[in-house]
């Protein structure tokens, strides 16, 4: 509200009060900029700058619960890389991120190309698939629990129904199927996004390209291969980046479905840091694993960061 005083000299005042030359008390650009930015910078400082620096600092300390922090050098990191649980979480993250991204984008892209052939009549179907992306991950987790339940879960029910009862099992309780099961549920939530970004890309392809191709006698299959597929790449690229970044950070669905188990077979690095810091109270150790996660995320986003930095004028 302090701003109101400065604005009074502006165009809101009566015209007679408004001198042609800048005579009234007016903020310079610099002052105004800092005034407008200050509240944002406070939030940003507390919840971005401070946490990043502090996480890196704490990763060099040994902190257990409320005990005083003890400087430990690279101790946390050397423990991390000899901790089979962490190494497994690295592997799980890799499998999770790559398969979730490949499947989400492939399915979404495929559906987008099909939908683009008849955009008007597939609108309802697109919204149905996209809606899954709008469901809270916590709620998706609950839905998929109902599908994977060993007793009367939908999946086992279907398998028994089609006479494959030999395949029924506790999907989330079996360490060899749990990760795959969670990934399927995750892909279900994510496909809507690549569907929409790819669809938008296809829609922006100039229509005369198609006309020209058809006049030249091209078949729908070759139109798809030579026009739609290459020209929808911008949407595919966006989808790949979003899916990769999101899946590296994934937490909610794992928390709901398996809590990282059984025997930590679904524990990603993002979940490992939660377990070590919030359940086992090893804050320094958790911080070190967060730093590794941070490095992974930064590496994946280098192209985006470079592009944003170059575009920032």
């Amino acid at each position: 509200m302090a701003l109101a005083a400065d604005i009074q000299g502006g165009p809101s005042g009566p015209p007679s009060d408004r001198p042609r030359t800048v005579g009234r008390r007016q903020l310079s650009d610099t002052q105004a900029a800092w005034l407008l930015l200050a509240p944002l910078l406070i939030f940003f400082g507390v919840s971005v700058v401070f946490p990043v620096i502090e996480t890196i600092r704490l990763s060099f300390y040994d902190i257990r619960g409320l005990a005083p922090a003890r400087f430990d050098g690279w101790g946390n990191y050397s423990t991390l890389f000899s901790d089979p649980n962490f190494l497994r979480s690295l592997r799980v993250t890799l499998v999770w991120a790559i398969s979730a991204t490949v499947f989400s984008v492939a399915i979404g892209w495929g559906l987008a190309m099909l939908c683009a052939l008849d955009p008007r009549r597939t609108l309802v179907f697109r919204i149905m698939i996209f809606a899954a992306y709008g469901v809270s991950e916590a709620v998706s987790g609950f839905m998929w629990l109902g599908i994977y339940r060993p007793d009367y879960g939908l999946l086992n029910g279907i398998l028994e129904g089609v006479g494959l009862s030999g395949l029924t099992q506790p999907w989330l309780g079996n360490p060899s199927t749990a990760l795959g099961a969670v990934i399927v549920a995750y892909v279900w939530t994510q496909v809507g996004l690549p569907l929409m970004t790819c669809f938008a890309s296809i829609q922006s392809i100039p229509k005369n390209l198609f006309e020209a191709a058809y006049i030249d006698g091209a078949k729908p299959a070759s139109v798809m291969r030579h026009i739609i597929a290459p020209l929808s790449m911008p949407g595919v690229r966006v989808a790949i980046f979003i899916n990769l970044l999101n899946s590296l950070k994934a937490f909610d669905l794992i928390f709901m479905l398996t809590g990282g188990g059984p025997v930590r077979s679904t524990e990603t690095v993002g979940f490992f840091m939660y377990r070590e810091s919030m359940l086992n109270f090893k804050l320094g150790y958790g911080a070190a694993s967060t730093v590794i996660l941070l490095i992974a995320v930064l590496v994946v986003s280098i192209p985006l960061i470079l592009k944003r930095t170059a575009d920032a004028r």
């Binding site: 030359t21 996480t55 008849d118």
Partner: protein
């Protein structure tokens, strides 16, 4: 319409879409059938009764109404903050000259890559020292702070096409930098501001990690759902009601404003709309 549409497209896509919403249908059906039937599978047809029992008893069973209120408070406050501050910052970055402008801009818009996990340990220690654990501001502050990366980017992108003539004309009329923001830019930037609000509302309403870590009793809906489905495993019908209540508001917002999400997703990664 791209050329001739093969006749199998519509049934195929329709079938996939139907399979896709099976989990959602299952959730709704589960909430409407008595537990004795749900326990045999929500799709079983041996007996079929529809009842609103779960919808009635659930309110006494779990603190759903309270969690709904907490969710509203957290989502609305964490949404309003970036809706106010991101346009101000985007204006400053785009139209004003000051030292460190480019450095700050690059820092802020690239922070979008940061995972939520990065705030957990430092803020957990900070909130604990300040006695702010279980205070909704412990969640709102990082929700707001982490939003600026994409929110500023989204509004600034929009301002790049803003007619500079308007700004110059106001400047000639002795309009100061603040007045130019409040009277010229702000009223004409309501589209990206609305997009920021819708996206942020969804993400903060659905957020699970930060509430689980920083809140104990003041739980918003997703965190409450996570807790009750762990504790009361058997009341599937009632947990289903809780799940529907958790997701109904964001789902409606989402379906109504779906085009904002594609746009928002692209600004999150740097593609331009």
């Amino acid at each position: 319409m791209i050329g001739r549409t093969p006749p199998w497209i519509l049934p195929l896509v329709g079938l996939i879409a139907l399979v896709w919403i099976v989990p959602i249908v299952g959730l709704v059906v589960t909430s409407l059938r008595p537990i004795s039937e749900v326990i045999l599978g929500w799709w079983s047809l041996d007996e079929f009764t529809l009842t609103l029992d779960a919808w009635i008893v659930v309110w006494d069973k779990y603190p759903l109404a309270y969690a709904f209120w907490i969710s509203c408070k957290i989502a609305i406050i964490s949404t309003v903050i970036p809706m106010l501050l991101a346009p101000a910052a985007a204006y400053a970055f785009h139209f004003l000259k000051f030292r460190f402008r480019r450095l700050l801009l690059i820092l802020i818009i690239n922070a979008f890559v940061l995972p939520n996990q990065v705030v957990i340990i430092p803020l957990f220690r900070l909130w604990r020292d300040l006695g702010m654990i279980d205070n909704i501001w412990s969640v709102i502050i990082p929700f707001a702070g982490l939003s600026f990366a994409w929110a500023v980017f989204l509004v600034k992108n929009y301002l790049e096409d803003f007619p500079t003539e308007l700004i110059e004309a106001a400047q000639i009329d002795a309009c100061g930098p603040l007045a130019r923001f409040f009277y010229i830019v702000l009223p004409n930037a309501l589209t990206p501001i609305a997009a920021v609000g819708i996206l942020q509302f969804m993400w903060t309403w659905n957020g699970l990690l930060l509430p689980v870590v920083f809140l104990r009793d003041e739980l918003p809906l997703p965190a409450l759902l996570a807790r009750i489905q762990g504790v009361y495993d058997r009341n599937w019908d009632q947990v289903a009601v809780a799940a529907i209540i958790t997701t109904i508001v964001p789902l409606i917002v989402f379906v109504v404003f779906q085009r904002f999400f594609t746009a928002g997703a692209q600004t999150r990664t740097g593609g331009k709309e």
